[in-house]
Amino acid sequence: MHASEGHEPKPSYEELEAMCRELQAKVTKGIGLQHELSSIKDELDQELNRFRLIQEFGEVGMFQESIRDFATAATEYFVQAFEQPHCLLAEYCREDGTLRPLSTFGFSGTDIPGCFVVDHRQFRRREGFLLSQRPGFQSELGFLDLEDALAAPLFAPDGIFLGLVACGQKSEDQRFYNPIDPKDRHAFTIMATKVGYLLHNFRVNEQLKKEVEERRKVEKMLEAKAADLLRSNAELEQFAYVVSHDLKAPLRNAMGFARLLRKNCRPGLPPAGQEHLDVVWEEMNRFNHIIDDLLAYARLSAASSGEPPSPVDLNVIVERVRNRNSFVIKQRQARINVQPLPRLPAHAPQMEQLFQNLILNAIKFTPPERQPEISIEAQAVGNGYRFAVRDNGIGVSKGKQTQIFGLFQRLHSSGQYEGNGLGLSICKKVVEQHQGKIWVESEGKGKGAVFYFTLPKE
């Protein structure tokens, strides 16, 4: 067979060599392209991973317990996202103008000062940069001994400088770490912005937490004081009860002998002696009243801690008070107008005490030349009733309207209006023990007064 009969001529050695060269060039080019493609894929993967980490940090950072934990998490995320071995996060201290490391990563053999100064006016924008591109700043951070780093200022949302972050490598790290890619500063800026905002939130929250804690402290203190007060009141009441009870017996004896003395010996005494004896008798009676009232006051606590309240018809209570005090009412020709009153859970004896004290008080503090006019009414309010005991007495000046409910508080001398200053204290205690409030309103002297108190329906 001849070559001319359709067969390709055999390539020459030179042609074969050229074909081989061409083939090898294609192989080389193919391998190169494969390498390039892999590098691009890897770079994209790294970038995606970085943004995933930045996103993740937003969530993780927000839920850290303390500023220290937050700063630790932040430096760890910087190290992870930017694949650098060292990171410093420092916060600006407005008081002294220094920066203080909040957290460091990978600087175990490096002596980092507790505070340091950098000229922060150089940071005008939220922009990350390479340390090696700012030699002045690099020397300010010279103690970190970093060959290069990504760095960025931290700002609050309102643009206030909060600190800075630097994440980079020392010369010895370059064995395994690639030089920092300037392109990474964009992602670094994003991460630093996020850290700045979160740091700002943390500080604001911390301030709020402090305030809440302080308020709690004050509340606790008040609670403790209230408990102390309750305890000392209880002790005082116990003391009052014991004292008055123990005083009562010798007083009763003394009064018995005084009565005998008045009956059997008074006529034989000279007028001055008779007068002295009468004074002794009156003072003993007054003393006896004080002890009775004190005992009544002290008994209130004991009574409330015993039996639970039971339904009480207040119309019946007021009627009973009227009957019991009919002599005084008649004597002063007092007119008492009672509107229908409710039935509610209470301690009946205490209710009697309350209405009696208020009615007798109204009569007592009406000038003798005036006919006492008293009206009693109740009005449903919310979960209870508001009662009003209105009189046309001497009234209570504005400045004294709280004072009159205190123990032994008297606005007048005993010469003007007799009494021992315990009646309204007892009223207050009764009402408060029934979860109510008592107060007085008066237009002023001579214009009468209205004693209001509330009692719950349940």
């Binding site: 090898q24 080389t28 391998i31 892999s38 894929k41 890897d42 993967d45 992870q80 990563f105 395994f176």
Partner: protein, 404 residues
């Protein structure tokens, strides 16, 4: 009877990372396990503080034997992580005292690999009776892996299965490290012997590369050091063929500088390929020679290679299929896994990597989670047709199986 537990994470603080790893691996176990004579195998990338890792592991598990090595990335049940700070652990809990043993050597090099490996194997054999499989973690830069395998076989016999890998850094081929208790070695090797008669190991291996272009012939070599290819200084010619600058450091060239050599015929079917691959991780700048991890006699033909994605995926499925069939009737109790560093981020993006790992793990975890510790290293020790061999650029899986 050994029980296995594993975990991995990308926590950057070394103390926290290893603590969380161990706590996660041993979660649900009684606290007393921390005080048992455990075996802890640690793989870590090179950004971590190794001393902090080892000291923390020791603090947590005072009685444990702690071994490990560096790598370019971790592969666990949690997925792959090739960041500068990633760590993974496999914990083996024995019932008795003699279900595993560990020996190690330092300063293992190409010229002394046989001797060092043999001595290490002798120590292990004398201290641990009943070893039925061997796990090796060795320096990834200087070792002559085939000689090391011979050294081990001289003591344990060629039939004892050897699996494991050589350590790596982040593919810079500068330094790799091995750990034995508190020590960090730079040119060491660790040999773990498992002596649990209820366990056997099933291995799978494959690469997905094809030779391209004309072969390069080794014209001058001594053991595993190649001086000349086609009569020219070996490294320079290789760089020239790859279109890379002369004098390049081997590290960055690893993804593209894989060299293929013909595999003996009897292994073709088992391997699914006619070629076995070799990596260059060390170059002698003075004479332009390079080192391979196995002997490379004069006359050997070496081809440049290219990755074939279809081959990678089909080979993977074939390998897992074969493995699953061999495991049938038994139960996978742990998986060690060595992947070539160049098969990680240098070749695949995250999606492809996740897919590959998923394809490997899913068939083995059909009946529940199986502890898994993998690393991207510089080389893989994997049996082929019952022969212990050293590979590069492969995925190698070692399934510890109990039953049938």
């Amino acid at each position: 009877m050994l029980r296995f537990y594993s975990a991995s994470n990308g926590v950057v603080n070394s103390e926290k990372a290893i603590r969380r790893c161990l706590e996660s691996a041993l979660a649900g176990r009684d606290a007393a396990i921390y005080h048992k004579k455990l075996l802890i195998v640690i793989h870590t990338t090179v950004g971590h503080d190794f001393q902090a890792l080892l000291a923390t592991a020791r603090r947590l598990c005072p009685e444990a034997t702690i071994v490990g090595c560096t790598c370019a990335g971790i592969i666990g049940v949690e997925g792959a992580n090739e960041n500068m700070r990633a760590v993974g652990v496999m914990v083996a809990e024995p019932d008795g005292d003699e279900e595993f043993g560990v020996a190690y050597c330092d300063n293992i090099r190409g010229y002394n690999s046989y001797q060092k490996a043999r001595e290490m194997a002798e120590t292990l054999k004398s201290e641990t009776p009943g070893v039925n499989m061997l796990h090796i973690l060795a320096s990834g830069i200087d070792i002559a892996a085939d000689r090391a395998l011979e050294g081990v076989a001289a003591v344990f016999g060629p039939e004892t299965p050897v699996f494991g890998g050589t350590s790596s850094d982040n593919m810079r081929a500068i330094s790799t490290y091995q750990f034995i208790n508190g020590q960090v070695l730079e040119r060491g090797a660790i040999l773990i012997g498992y002596a649990d008669p209820s366990l056997r190991v099933e291995m799978g291996v494959h690469h997905g590369s094809v030779p391209v272009g004309e072969p390069l012939t080794v014209t001058r070599a001594r053991a595993n050091q190649v001086f000349e290819l086609n009569g020219e200084p070996a490294w320079n010619l290789l760089m020239q063929k790859l279109g890379l600058p002369e004098g390049s450091h081997p590290g960055p060239c690893i993804p593209v500088a894989g060299l293929a050599e013909l595999l003996p015929d009897e292994y073709h079917a088992a391997y699914g390929n006619r070629h076995i691959l070799r990596v260059v991780v060390r170059v002698d700048e003075a004479d332009g020679s390079f080192y391979l991890p196995v002997d490379c006699p004069e006359g050997t033909r070496l081809w440049l290679t290219q990755r074939d994605e279809n081959l990678i995926f089909s080979g993977l499925e074939h390998m897992i299929g074969c493995l699953s069939r061999r495991i049938e009737g038994g139960r996978a109790v742990a998986v060690f896994h060595t992947d070539c560093a160049a098969r990680g981020r240098a070749l695949f993006n995250k999606i492809a990597k996740d897919e590959i790992i998923g394809k490997m793990q899913a068939p083995l975890m059909k009946e529940g989670r199986v502890p898994w510790l993998g690393m991207y290293g510089f080389g893989e020790f994997t049996q082929l047709k019952g022969k212990n061999l050293f590979h590069n650029y492969t995925t190698s899986i070692y399934v510890l199986v109990r039953g049938r």
